[in-house]
Symmetry: C2
């Protein structure tokens, strides 16, 4: 198994065995990077300068370690590494370098790297333009397959993104796409124009990266071509970037669902304590105001509580159930919106269905809690509990299901309908329902 | 933009325009499938029988619609479609067909389809074996590049998974991998053995599909070869399957975090009400017992509550803050475990860091709540609230951070440490802390 081998090399690294560089070089570049990332900065630098494919290893390291290493290399070494990197990774690292280093590098970068700098440098974060790479190959539609293969053979080296070849006219307008498979399998004398797919699915430079990732996954593509406002091909986004984006977006939604601000690139293991504090304190304090609503609900009915202190016993149970049911509804809704299973226009239909589910859940819970109420109180308490529970669960579900839509209407992220937020709203409404029902039936 | 075109064809479909089949056929197969999936079953069947690439369109439809369509086709039509499908999609559909239909089909399936049936039919759900497809191409190491291209040209048609070519010996043992790019770009007279990568990263048939998807994403591979217990190549898993799995696993974790059982393939829009009820009622009832702990905590201190009814006012606020802080901790931990950012062995280090974060959060919250306490109560109430809040937030964070680890030790899914579960545990401990502090300081 791959992991055993990895553990072995990790041991060799620790013990600084003589043949460790040889062992390391036999691993996949992703694994080499993983092992290097575990070392102390000095050791990492030393080993990095021995690896066979430094550019590829560097790409798999976290950006802060890339920068650390880059700053220790000579300008010549650094230029060689940068020239061999994928264009999107190259740009990400280049942007982080000190200005004077950037300037010293300019005369030493390859034509391809200069092209990438020109094309990729300018786009805002989180757009297709900032995500795309310029590592793609274009051919003209009039070439034959035989000529195409000869051309591809001539194109030098690092292009491992040679799966889809884009066909452009003289002004670089995207007119078709062809796969290497199609080229290899077609008659050698056929022209590209005869074989290529003309209806190309593409993205534009200013689109949100999440949309691009979704489109790529939806069509099961290996890469999506990106065009500028004039429909000229300027880059591609590949499946591996789409996977990374999809994971990052899932993480963001997941944390929001737990009322935590996204950590961005931070690791839970190494993030500064103060950053973690900042990502959490906002929601925690904000939710206090939600809880205060419950408190005022309680204050409004303090008389009835002191009269029937047994009511307090059931308070957490009733109020909690509303919050739990509401969290479930919000969770289902937020995720279904994120995966595209439902759209905002489905809201009315969903609410109808949710009401039915909530009634079933409410009945079950009412039955359970009324038995408890009868045991600990009397028949009247059981009736109060059953009615309250029914109302609280129904209300909770409707709140949970509606909150993401309301947030969207307010131009906020529907994923901010976190379990804690839903819970605190449902708690407050639960307190009011419960104590209102009790005040009507027990006096 | 692609979406406008789609809307246009959707309109044409609705109005049953004469040239609609032509319009439909110009779309990407994924879009054709999307439009068909929106039609009524009868219309869908009719349109499906007109499409140009029925096998590919069928693959993009949900499995229940695939089955509906398959059952309406003649055995000859169905066999043609099945023979042209990707092997993994073919197997998924074939398994669902009625037994007599399966038997009628047998004599009409291609050699390739029979091979897939033999190789892929037998593996348990959620393993690499059940996920993999047999649509890959193998070559022998002794071929030259020139011969390799000639061989690839001869291999008939549907293989759009021709990106990586696996090199096997006479017993089908996996000995190397080569990309179509490498073949095209190497010297025509070089042999595959000279160019191929020998250290192949692979998966085994019995591994969990989630591990396979993670490995593929980790190495940024397009496909991962799958071997049996004797190291023979038996299938591949491709990046698009890995993306689907990653999304499905994220959805599962997301729903668990909201205390909802995974919906599997169900859509929130169309799932039977009873199924939705079943996915939720278990946790909702279970959490009642969590709430009961709070209730018993309250019962234990009923005297002090009736003496100082103002305490009830602050109960939701204090107890809720513990639950919120705990949910945040659990959320951070569950996600970091899922993405591989932290491992279980990091627990001790994480708890130390979490304690620091919790102290900062607790201090902030204590300050906020003691001001409220002073306004509504007196200095003594403010002190009770500050001390309680500090303890409750600290305890909540430690519970939230530890619960995923505890669940793992109990061989349960750490993702079941849902916000509602954490909240109900933190609520109970919060009640006890609050009322204990109050009983000590106010009597």
């Amino acid at each position: 198994m791959p992991d055993q081998h990895l553990t072995q090399v990790r041991e060799s690294l620790k013990q600084q065995q003589a043949n460790v560089d040889q062992q390391l070089s036999e691993l996949n570049v992703a694994d080499q990077a993983r092992l290097l990332s575990e070392l102390k900065p000095g050791d990492r630098q030393y080993r990095f300068e021995q690896v066979k494919h430094p550019a590829q290893v560097l790409e798999f390291l976290p950006l802060d370690q890339q920068l650390q290493i880059a700053n220790q290399l000579t300008i010549e070494q650094l230029a060689n590494v940068l020239n061999a990197m994928h264009s999107d990774d190259f740009i990400d690292l280049y942007k982080q370098l000190p200005i004077e280093k950037q300037q010293q590098l300019l005369s030493k970068l390859s034509v391809q790297a200069h092209h990438s700098l020109k094309v990729l440098h300018a786009y805002p974060e989180e757009t297709a333009g900032a995500l795309m790479s310029s590592d793609y190959v274009t051919l003209s539609p009039e070439l034959t397959m035989h000529e195409a293969i000869a051309t591809l053979r001539d194109i030098a080296g690092n292009h491992d993104t040679l799966y889809l070849i884009y066909i452009v006219d003289a002004e670089q307008h995207l007119v078709g796409v062809i796969s290497l498979r199609q080229i290899v399998q077609a008659q050698p004398t056929a022209t590209i124009a005869e074989v290529m797919t003309r209806e190309v699915i593409y993205g534009t430079v200013d689109e949100d990266q999440e949309l691009i990732a979704r489109r790529l996954a939806y069509y099961d593509f290996i890469a999506l071509p990106i065009v500028d406002a004039e429909q000229r091909l300027v880059g591609i986004v590949t499946y591996d970037d789409a996977m990374d984006i999809a994971e990052a977006e899932s993480t963001e939604d997941f944390l929001k669902a737990g009322a935590v601000e996204p950590l961005d690139q931070l690791s839970l293991k190494t993030a500064p304590i103060l950053s973690l504090y900042q990502k959490r304190v906002f929601w925690l304090v904000l939710l206090v105001f939600g809880s205060l609503l419950s408190s005022f609900g309680i204050a409004r009915y303090e008389d009835i509580i002191s009269e029937h202190i047994v009511l307090v016993f059931f308070l957490p149970l009733l109020v909690g159930s509303g919050g739990n049911a509401g969290s479930q509804s919000a969770t289902l809704m937020v995720r279904a919106l994120a995966t595209g299973d439902v759209q905002f226009k489905d809201w009315f239909r969903l609410i109808r269905r949710e009401t039915l589910v909530a009634l079933c859940l409410g009945l079950t819970m009412a039955l359970a809690v009324s038995i408890l109420g009868y045991i600990r109180g009397d028949l009247m308490v059981a009736v109060v509990l059953a009615i309250s529970m029914m109302g609280i669960v129904l209300l909770g579900c409707l709140i949970g299901m509606s909150l993401p839509f309301v947030l969207n209407k307010l131009k906020l992220d529907p994923a901010s309908a976190s379990a804690p937020l839903v819970t605190s709203i449902c708690d407050a409404s639960g307190v009011v329902v419960y104590l209102f029902v009790a005040s009507q039936l027990l006096f």
